[in-house]
């Protein structure tokens, strides 16, 4: 779990290196010192670009391979292990999937904010939202698919422990939380993103993203609050025989959730003072490989693939 933030920081710093080098002349103080340490020797030579791209690719691959393992650890250690008899092989996969879904949702929301209010309207067109909305739609459908796969497998056999878990996390105790989760993670995003005009717009996917984030919060509350409060008495049993009671949040819980979201937003905003929101070099590279071209009587996008 420690390795994951380290790798992601490395990816962040490496990908920002060319832009830090470009900004060296215009910064002072601590930022100048930081930029000099990271990017002082960057001169944009062919070798440096090749090494940079190879490094980002390799680190990205490593990150991607580590991520499901970390999600598996959190899901089993902090979730499944607290409810006696909850043996669910798809739970880590759903948790990983939700990780992808929510991270895409946050990115889309941030892009929209910067496009609309951040002055980046000329650099963020509608096409990122059009492309990403298809992925968000797919991930939302996959959420429903994985959740149904879990549900029907547990529902079918009528085993006491499995029915108790369904009653606890889905149909009885946390039913309303599950309903909010389903609305946020699946019903509303799919209902929005199934329409082409909504997907083509800049606001459609971010709006779906807001619901996805809310749905994910409900999912985490349902599973992890449910797991932590499943009852100390039953934790050493083979399986739960009594469906635990729900635990309602008090004011301090709500403050903590709001506070954590606030801290995350604060850290993100502070980091934007150090790192550019978009990689300038990637924007320039993308612009090299696309243009509008004339084909007989029509004008169409020409997209090149350099490799």
């Amino acid at each position: 779990m420690f390795a994951l933030p380290v790798v992601s920081c490395l990816i962040l710093i490496l990908s920002a290196t060319p832009d830090m080098s470009a900004a060296l002349k215009n910064v002072t103080g601590l930022k100048k010192r930081f930029y000099t340490i990271i990017a002082g020797r960057w001169n944009g030579s062919k070798k440096q670009w090749l090494v940079l791209q190879a490094a980002i690719g390799s680190l990205g691959g490593i990150y991607f391979l580590m991520l499901p393992f970390v999600q598996f650890l959190i899901a089993t250690d902090l979730g499944m292990s607290f409810i006696a008899g909850w043996k669910d092989s798809i739970f880590p996969a759903i948790y990983t999937l939700m990780g992808f879904q929510t991270s895409l949702a946050i990115i889309l929301i941030i892009l929209f904010i910067y496009k609309r209010w951040g002055g980046y309207g000329n650099f963020i067109g509608d096409s990122p939202f059009w492309s990403a909305s298809k992925i968000l739609l797919g991930l939302s459908l996959l959420w429903a698919y994985h959740t149904f796969a879990f549900f029907i497998t547990f529902w079918y056999g009528r085993m006491e422990v499995e029915i108790n878990i369904i009653k606890y996390l889905y149909s009885d105790v946390y039913f309303w939380v599950f309903l909010l989760n389903a609305l946020g993670s699946f019903i509303i995003p799919v209902g929005l993103l199934v329409w082409n005009p909504v997907r083509r717009s800049a606001w459609g996917a971010p709006l779906a993203g807001v619901f996805v984030l809310f749905g994910a919060l409900m999912w985490n509350i349902r599973h992890f609050v449910g797991a932590f409060n499943a009852g100390v008495e039953q934790i050493y049993e083979i399986s739960i025989t009594v469906v635990p009671e729900a635990v309602m949040p008090d004011i301090w819980d709500i403050f903590m959730v709001v506070g954590i979201i606030g801290i995350a937003a604060l850290v993100y905003l502070l980091s934007l003072k150090m790192f550019p929101i978009m990689n300038v070099w990637e924007i320039k590279e993308g612009a090299m490989y696309q243009k509008m071209g004339r084909f007989i009587k029509g004008n169409y996008l020409v997209l090149a693939k350099p490799e």
Binding site: Y156, G157, R158, I296, K297, G298, Y300
Partner: protein, 168 residues
């Protein structure tokens, strides 16, 4: 007045598009001009009119019918043969959802295919002018006209660079 179709065959797509412009300038309506190709060209490549299609209605209707069909099969058979299996309720929603989902998708796909064939105006008896060289890569400019205008259209196409023309 009999309806006639005039086909001009072009080897070059730009010439075919210019022929389309020449026809429009001579007063031929856009909806009377069509371009025949052996592969799809990007929409608007020949400067042609946009074709409105209503294909999206078909999967909705088909899906709805399939959903209702699936619901009927699952619920009516379960109620007609009320045998409890494995402790599950007589009307079990999760298994019903599986069959209803398949019914919905089957209905949507069947109706989409019907819609494609219908909207493509197929099956179609080929009474218009046609040339097999269209499938060899030639671009056909097909014009619907009447007896009086067909020769004029034929001349426009020939002047625009058609390698061959046909009237049917």
């Amino acid at each position: 007045m009999a309806i006639k179709t005039v086909l001009g065959l072009f080897q070059d797509a730009n010439q075919a598009a210019d022929a389309g412009d020449a026809l429009k300038e001579s007063g031929v309506s856009e909806k009377d001009v069509d371009f025949l190709t052996d592969c799809p060209y990007p929409e608007g490549a020949f400067g042609e009119r946009e074709e409105p299609i209503r294909l999206f209605l078909f999967p909705f209707i088909g899906g709805l019918l399939g959903f209702v069909g699936g619901l009927m099969i699952t619920s009516m058979t379960q109620m007609a043969y009320p045998l409890i299996t494995g402790g599950k309720p007589i009307l079990s929603l999760p298994p019903m959802a599986v069959v209803m989902y398949e019914g919905t998708m089957l209905g949507a796909i069947l109706f989409t295919v019907i819609g494609v064939i219908f909207e493509s105006r197929l099956p179609h008896k080929m009474t218009e002018a046609y040339d097999e060289r269209v499938s060899q890569g030639y671009i056909g400019v097909l014009v619907t006209s009447n007896d009086d205008n067909s020769q004029q259209v034929n001349d426009i196409l020939s002047n625009a660079g058609a390698v061959d023309t046909k009237i049917a």
